[in-house]
Symmetry: C2
């Protein structure tokens, strides 16, 4: 199945910037970064459960927000992209 | 249907920051902002076509990226959110 993961991590503190890098790195293990805070992961339910728990461990639920969107198995015609596809550097500071 | 709209707008220039505000405002007319650069829009196909064209007019396809994810009509159990739900101020500078 295709899972879309989007996140807003509060980067006002050094701890927040660290969480942001860890969230991005974790998602990178399972999928492809398509925008600063958006990942597309082709993943099976069992692996997704692991990823989801890992992300919940990393984040600060009081300050950060993660959203999971399940596009299912027939996802190819559910996704459209318009514009540039920059290559992402995980270390980049994520200012949109 | 539920459309998820995510975007990265290059804000290195004043023109970019203006595009960013316009993209957010346009999406706000049709849906709800759930993260800095993520909107959820319950919208019919005809209206979505209008919104899509408006966004494409606003953006700079060389510098910006917009992604559309169609969750269809049975979307309620396709979305999960973990963490904080800050209220969004469109004028806020969109630093994640």
């Amino acid at each position: 199945m295709m899972m879309i993961i989007t996140y807003d991590v509060n980067t006002e503190t050094a701890a927040g910037r660290k969480r942001l890098r860890k969230v991005a790195k974790q998602c990178q293990n399972y999928g492809q970064r398509v925008q600063n805070s958006v990942f597309e992961c082709i993943i099976d339910p069992a692996l997704f459960k692991i990823l989801r728990n890992e992300l919940i461990q990393i984040m600060d639920a009081e300050k950060d927000s993660i959203r999971f969107y399940n596009l299912g198995n027939k996802w190819k015609n559910r996704i459209e992209h318009v514009g540039t596809k920059h290559t992402m550097n995980l270390e980049d500071s994520l200012i949109v």
